[in-house]
């Protein structure tokens, strides 16, 4: 999967800025949250691209932009070389069957008043599949995600979190999509259930060849499921590489800190920590220059003023950091 195969999604200069309007009668200066700020990357067919970052880094916003659930402020999203940001509502609706989403919260993402069958059928109904066809498909899908078919007339509240997430996955697979954005699909689940769902997603990918964009805050989960990983910090991508490379040879100081901050379930491994000082800055008026400079142990003067470029450190390994660039030249 590591070799570059066909490009399925290409993102160019993607930005999403939210305006916070000044409160009420007093005219306060308008503030802008740069939730996603100038992203460039590609997703290749059949791979899993993991996106990892802490709260406020814009990873969920980015996932929604890719599916045009949010309208980008700037930039282009190419799906099979066609720019979906230029699509009309009608074109977009037709195209939606090819890209689907798996949501974080399996409690909130299923309509409490619909049965499992109705929930999974809904995408099929939307694209006018025949009744007989739909029933057959529901059966196949339930089988694929490991929910007994006899449960199809039950309501979501009769299921546990893990089972609900399976139902959510079945729904997103119903139309046989090419591209699936999974937004923290296991964050709400217990470890043993989380592992079941991760394995299920892997198996389904092997069987049907889906392409995943897997968004999570937990680097060990992302590392497990992804072929490549992108690390985000305050709306920017700071590093992107094959997952093994990112783990063994992270170049960006933020990636290094993130890796060393993860508690490892091995008490004998007392490791050297790159402890980050300070708090996560707010994405409203983020720091100038490199956004990480306020917490970066390697920060220099240039980092405070100039935004680092997105450079290819080695083949298929990208990073945005002045220090790394300097080291290279």
């Amino acid at each position: 999967m590591q070799t570059k195969t066909k490009e399925l999604v290409r993102v160019e200069g993607l930005k999403k800025h939210f305006k916070l309007s000044g409160g009420g009668l007093r005219k306060e200066p308008e503030q802008v949250v740069k939730a996603v700020d100038d992203l460039n990357f590609s997703v290749y067919e059949g791979e899993t691209l993991g996106i990892v970052g802490e709260s406020g880094c814009g990873k969920s916003t980015m996932g929604r932009l890719l599916l045009r659930l949010l309208e980008p402020t700037e930039g282009n999203i190419y799906f099979e070389n066609r720019d979906i940001t230029t699509f009309s509502k009608q074109e977009l609706r037709e195209k939606r069957r090819e890209f689907q989403m798996i949501f974080q919260d399996p409690y909130a993402s299923l309509n409490p008043r619909m049965t499992v069958k109705e929930i999974i059928e809904e995408p099929l109904r939307t694209y006018k599949e025949k009744q007989a066809e739909r029933s057959k498909r529901v059966q196949t899908l339930l089988d694929a995600v490991g929910i007994p078919e006899s449960y199809k007339n039950r309501y979501p509240h009769e299921f546990s979190g893990g089972q609900r997430q399976r139902i959510g996955i079945a729904r997103s697979l119903a139309l046989n999509p090419k591209f699936i954005v999974a937004d923290e699909p296991v964050a709400a689940l217990d470890v043993s259930i989380q592992a079941q769902v991760l394995n299920l997603m892997k198996d389904l990918q092997d069987e049907f060849g889906f392409t995943y964009l897997f968004i999570a805050h937990d680097l060990s989960v992302v590392n497990y499921i992804s072929d490549r990983i992108g690390v985000m910090y305050l709306g920017k991508m700071v590093e992107l590489a094959d997952s093994d490379k990112l783990y063994n040879n992270p170049v960006h100081p933020y990636t290094q800190a993130l890796l060393s901050a993860i508690p490892v379930p091995d008490p004998t491994r007392k490791k050297e920590r790159v402890m980050l000082t300070g708090e996560l800055p707010s994405p409203v008026n983020p720091p100038s220059g490199c956004r990480f400079h306020t917490r970066c142990p390697l920060a220099q003067d240039i980092c405070k003023q100039v935004e680092p470029e997105w450079i290819e450190v080695e083949e298929n390994h990208f990073a945005a950091c002045h220090v790394v660039k300097e080291r290279l030249s």
Partner: protein
């Protein structure tokens, strides 16, 4: 055993509901010594949070809440104490750090005021000296420019700082036992690392005993000295932390460890199949029996007691019942 700080014996917390008795905590025993960090680890609904609430007597007041057993804290049974005496213990001798720092701080008082309240209530300290304590506590938990920060409201603090504030509040009464209920779950990992580091530092400084309740085996490995693994209201395995990770005995603990994705390791996860049981509908036998790959007849009829496999490693599983061989 002079330094045993907390000795919990056969603690049971049951809730009577319309659908039957929910055995949230069902006969657990453990000890915490001074300066020791005990991790109680388990998945949601295993009873780990109810355990902490039972120790602090935050449950057991309503008619449908039944708490029994013994909770010996510094030699005295908390379960038989009057509420008035409990009030004096909570927040001073036993500090609680809750999961969500936003809800454990009152939004309408400054952080300094809330911390100062602790010595004012428990030690009848003067306003001035209490304020000094508050500032000292904020400094202790690593909040920069503590004098100014003490005058700010919780919403002016970031998530990590709020949790530091809560820890400061828990420390203000100079507790000998700290109960931390998922203290870092709401925090980002780089902030979590800071908070865990802080807790270790504080343990070394104050020699308090800490009960660390968490679902994250990584957190346990990082800071705990010994671990109790809970499953469906029971402790299924108890051991020093190195021993537990090197040599897990109970099939559930093993499954849990195999479910965990490890960095840099892409070997396929081997999750525990199935779902945890319903706590109001438990059969007599081992509660893990329905999901256990090693299950045999006896597991379905009788719950296994804790068998010692090593001097301080105990496992509630018939696989380790030596007399049966």
């Amino acid at each position: 055993m002079e330094d045993v700080l907390l000795d919990v014996k056969e603690l049971k917390t049951h809730f009577k509901t319309e659908k039957g008795v929910v055995k949230a905590v069902d006969g657990i025993s453990f000890q915490v010594r001074r300066g020791e960090i005990l991790g109680i680890v388990g998945e949601s609904g295993c009873g780990k949070s109810i355990t902490s609430q039972s120790i602090l007597r935050l449950v057991g007041y309503k008619r449908n809440e039944l708490v029994s057993g013994q909770v010996l804290f510094e030699g005295e049974d908390l379960l038989t104490k009057k509420e008035k005496n409990m009030l004096a213990i909570r927040g001073s001798k036993i500090g609680l750090i809750a999961q969500d720092p936003m809800t454990s701080l009152n939004p309408v008082y400054t952080v300094g005021n809330q911390i100062a309240e602790v010595p004012m209530i428990h030690e009848k300290a003067s306003k001035k000296s209490a304020w000094q304590t508050a500032i000292a506590m904020l400094k202790k938990v690593g909040i920069p420019s503590a004098e100014d920060r003490a005058d700010q409201y919780p919403h002016q603090f970031s998530g990590g700082m709020r949790q530091r504030g809560v820890i400061g509040m828990a420390l203000a009464g100079n507790p000998s036992l700290l109960i931390a209920d998922e203290p870092t779950t709401a925090l980002d990992v780089t902030i979590q690392a800071q908070v865990l580091d802080l807790m270790l530092k504080l343990r070394d400084e104050t020699n308090a005993g800490i009960i660390m309740i968490t679902h994250d085996l990584g957190v346990v490995a990082e800071i705990c000295d010994k671990v109790a693994v809970m499953y469906a209201g029971k402790i299924v395995e108890q051991a020093p932390v190195e021993e537990l990770f090197a040599n897990p005995k109970h099939p559930y603990t093993k499954g849990l460890l195999k479910s965990l994705p490890k960095l840099g390791d892409k070997e396929r996860l081997q999750p525990v199949e199935g779902q945890p049981p319903n706590l109001n509908d438990l059969h007599e036998g081992c509660r893990f029996a329905d999901r256990c790959p090693f299950v045999f007849d006896k597991c379905h009829t009788e719950h296994p007691p804790l068998f010692s496999t090593d001097s301080n490693h105990r496992t509630a599983c018939y696989l380790y019942d030596e007399e049966a061989e």
